[in-house]
């Protein structure tokens, strides 16, 4: 009986390891560091911001996608302006910003902006 329980826990452990192995863990270069800083600044006090990432190829590209929870009362065009300002402050110049609604397939674009 004991070995049956052991196999059960080994099964759970194996699948848990596979789960962990699918975390997003791309190596972080200079562009990735800057993108990460944009995410940290943009998500401060904005719980609806899920992520900021490069979404076109080849990388690094000039396109930033901001994944958000669709929240009433937010002006997404103004939010895109804010994202532009933060990206520019972080040294990401003349970016194309796409504000994407999480949970839609494919993502709905809530706003887009070409940063000057």
């Amino acid at each position: 009986m004991q070995h049956k329980k052991t196999i059960f826990f080994l099964l759970l452990t194996g699948y848990a390891l596979l789960y962990i192995a699918t975390s997003k863990q791309a190596p972080c270069n200079d562009d990735c560091e800057k993108t990460g800083r944009v995410f940290r600044e943009l998500s401060t006090n904005r719980t609806y911001v899920y992520g900021v990432y490069r979404c076109t190829l080849p990388r690094p590209s000039d396109t930033l996608c901001v994944l958000v929870r669709d929240t009433s009362g937010i002006n997404w065009n103004m939010f895109a302006d804010t994202a532009c300002n933060i990206a520019t402050q972080q040294g990401l110049l003349q970016q194309k910003i796409f504000i994407l609604k999480n949970g839609t397939n494919p993502y709905d674009t809530l706003a887009k902006k070409l940063c000057q």
Binding site: Y15, L18, T22, S23, A26, Y50, G51, C55, G103
Partner: protein
């Protein structure tokens, strides 16, 4: 091949293999693909249509959940000592792992589509593995 080995190969290993291939070719940003090979995805995110998006982003979750549920149902059958409401434990595991992803941002992402895929995978596994053995 004996029925147990066949069930493991078909319902547990094959879905994991399909999930691995989806990650390898279309979502190489995840940790275990980065360890194997630093590569770019075959299709960029914004060029995906709805079906491609579902297959690439919810497909691996579906495969993992189907494989896990099938492995647990196969184990339950193999150990020959019925555990009451074992299927509830498996369903909770499948649902909780998806909810947990919402707490592990930005390394994981919670998505209702993934949740539906996970529950669908559990249900199919229940139908094909548990019910088959119960019959």
């Amino acid at each position: 091949m004996n029925p147990l080995a066949k069930s493991i190969a078909l319902h547990s290993i094959l879905p994991l293999l399909i999930g691995f291939l989806l990650y390898f070719f279309f979502r190489p940003g995840v940790a275990f693909i980065q360890w194997i090979d630093k590569r770019e995805p075959l299709l960029p995110l914004h060029q995906l249509n709805q079906v491609q998006h579902w297959l690439i982003y919810s497909g691996p979750d579906f495969c993992w959940c189907y494989s896990l549920s099938a492995a647990l149902f196969t184990w339950h059958q193999w150990q020959k000592k019925p555990v009451r409401f074992f299927w509830v434990f498996v369903l909770l595991l499948v649902v909780m792992q998806e909810i947990l992803q919402g707490w592990l941002l930005p390394h994981f992402t919670f998505d209702w589509t993934d949740m539906i895929a996970a529950i669908l995978a559990f249900w199919l596994s229940y139908l094909f593995v548990r019910q088959k053995h119960a019959a």
